[in-house]
């Protein structure tokens, strides 16, 4: 299981308390994690990535194992520790004021 941590505003929107676990059969990628996450929590659709293009929203960032994965291709494998559930996959609202 892959551990996913969401920013507070999206946890409130989706009614999530704490960390979420999603399963990715086969090779775990960011696209598959987000697909699973949105399937489990439909309120998150469109809030992390564009519903039409699938592209990450400009002010959302993806981190894992101390790396910024935001600019990685969505079908690239996740870091092994994230895929194994040893480290969380972090979805973060960019620090942009407000």
């Amino acid at each position: 299981m892959i551990r996913v941590q969401l920013p507070a505003h999206l946890r409130r929107l989706a009614g999530i308390d704490g960390e979420v676990q999603v399963s990715c059969p086969g090779q775990a990628t960011q696209r598959l994690v987000l697909d699973q996450l949105e399937a489990s929590y439909p309120a998150l659709r469109g809030t992390i990535r564009n519903q039409f293009t699938g592209r990450r929203r400009a002010y959302m960032r993806f981190f894992g194992c101390g790396q910024d994965l935001s600019h990685e291709p969505p079908d690239s494998p996740l870091p092994e520790a994230v895929a194994a559930g040893a480290e969380p996959y972090l979805i973060v609202g960019a620090m942009a004021g407000g």
Binding site: P7, H9, A43, T47, R57, A96
Partner: protein, 371 residues
């Protein structure tokens, strides 16, 4: 027992203000959707328990919320707003072509008859409709596809469709207004649209009398007289007596005719309210005095309404969707400011009291009269 429910959208969440028919004591709940911009929320005329809210943020985009219990609980509805077909371009601020891009929902207008049908006015300007309680949305493309569409340019706040009015006497007639394209009317349930801007004159565009390009800030109608429309334009307060076929200026003796909201008394179709703002570069009330102006003659002659409102050192604005009236016997008038105050008058504007003083910047105010 009668009462009112005031729905307030702010830059950091929504608030619901409830009172009985006296409108003296208020129960204030919220923030709902804290931290998010709530451009607008509105109740269904057909089912007052059904509310819709537009929740958005720069980080996470657009969310539509729906309540079936008068705002006590909310559920996220559908938020997939896709333009019909190949959207093409409109003009950007510098006059270059710019792709039509969805930014947010500015205004939600529930159907007069069906709580599951609701219209959404969005930026970049387009009109959407949902027939399943906000779960799915489809564009009514006849508006954006008008031949003038590629020439539309955004106003300073973005190219927003901010006003949607349904004619209660003609189910197929609707009005919409866009900054800075102007006013439009459909006589076939939104399938096709035409500009209704004859008589408007705007100094900020090359042809001041152009068919489109006018920065209309707000339009209001009294349901008993749907051919009479009142408009707050960027500058100028206007009136039409023929459903928008022609307009004439009714700014009269206002201290300034720049402003954003305009609304009509619930029982007196010729009693109109505006809030004059200093200028297009000074978005605050003139002379530090917060004054609502009322005309009881359908425009032209205006009186300041000041009792209970700050008359010194006040520099707030009142945005286009931030004024509303209730329909109790003594008409109530409400407005919210960019300073976070929501004022109410239970006597048609003669006197005012702050319902709440320290909310975030108020983006919209709507009222439901409950029986």
């Amino acid at each position: 027992m009668t009462g009112v429910r005031v729905l307030v959208g702010t830059s950091k969440g929504a608030f619901v203000l409830n009172s009985d028919g006296q409108r003296k004591l208020w129960d204030i709940s919220g923030p709902y959707f804290g931290g998010w911009e709530v451009y607008h929320l509105k109740g269904s005329p057909a089912d007052p328990s059904r509310l819709y809210a537009s929740q958005s943020s720069s980080w996470s985009g657009q969310v539509i919320q729906r309540s079936d219990d008068g705002g006590q609980t909310w559920q996220a509805a559908g938020n997939k707003f896709g333009y019909d077909g190949e959207p093409g371009t409109h003009q950007w601020y510098d006059g270059t072509p710019h792709p039509w891009e969805f930014a947010r929902v500015w205004h939600l207008e529930p159907s007069l008859n069906d709580p599951d049908t609701v219209y959404a006015g969005v930026e970049d300007a387009a009109l959407f409709r949902s027939d399943d309680g906000g779960m799915t949305w489809h564009e009514l493309p006849g508006l954006r596809d008008h031949q003038s569409g590629p020439s539309w340019q955004p106003g300073a706040g973005g190219m927003c469709l901010h006003t949607i009015i349904q004619d209660p006497s003609r189910a197929d007639r609707m009005f919409a207004a866009i900054s800075a394209a102007g006013a439009f009317r459909s006589d076939d349930s939104g399938a096709t649209w035409r500009p209704i801007n004859r008589g408007l004159r705007s100094e900020g565009i090359p042809d001041g009398d152009a068919e489109v390009g006018h920065c209309v800030h707000r339009i209001a109608m009294h349901p008993s007289r749907p051919d009479v429309l009142f408009m707050q334009k960027h500058w100028d307060v206007m009136r039409s007596d023929d459903a928008g076929e022609s307009w004439r200026e009714i700014s009269g003796d206002l201290p300034t005719d720049f402003g954003f909201p305009v609304d009509v008394h619930a029982h007196e179709p010729d009693t109109v309210y505006v809030v004059p703002i200093t200028s297009d570069s000074e978005h605050y009330v003139p002379e530090g005095k917060l004054r609502v102006y009322r005309s009881r003659t359908g425009g032209g002659e205006w009186e300041p309404l000041t009792r209970g409102l700050p008359q010194a050192h006040c520099y707030v604005n009142v945005l286009r969707d931030a004024m509303a009236v209730d329909s109790l016997d003594e008409c109530g008038v409400y407005f919210g400011t960019t300073g976070g105050q929501v004022y109410g008058s239970a006597d048609a504007g003669e006197s005012w009291e702050p319902i709440v003083r320290d909310l975030p910047r108020v983006l919209s105010v709507e009222v439901q009269t409950l029986s």
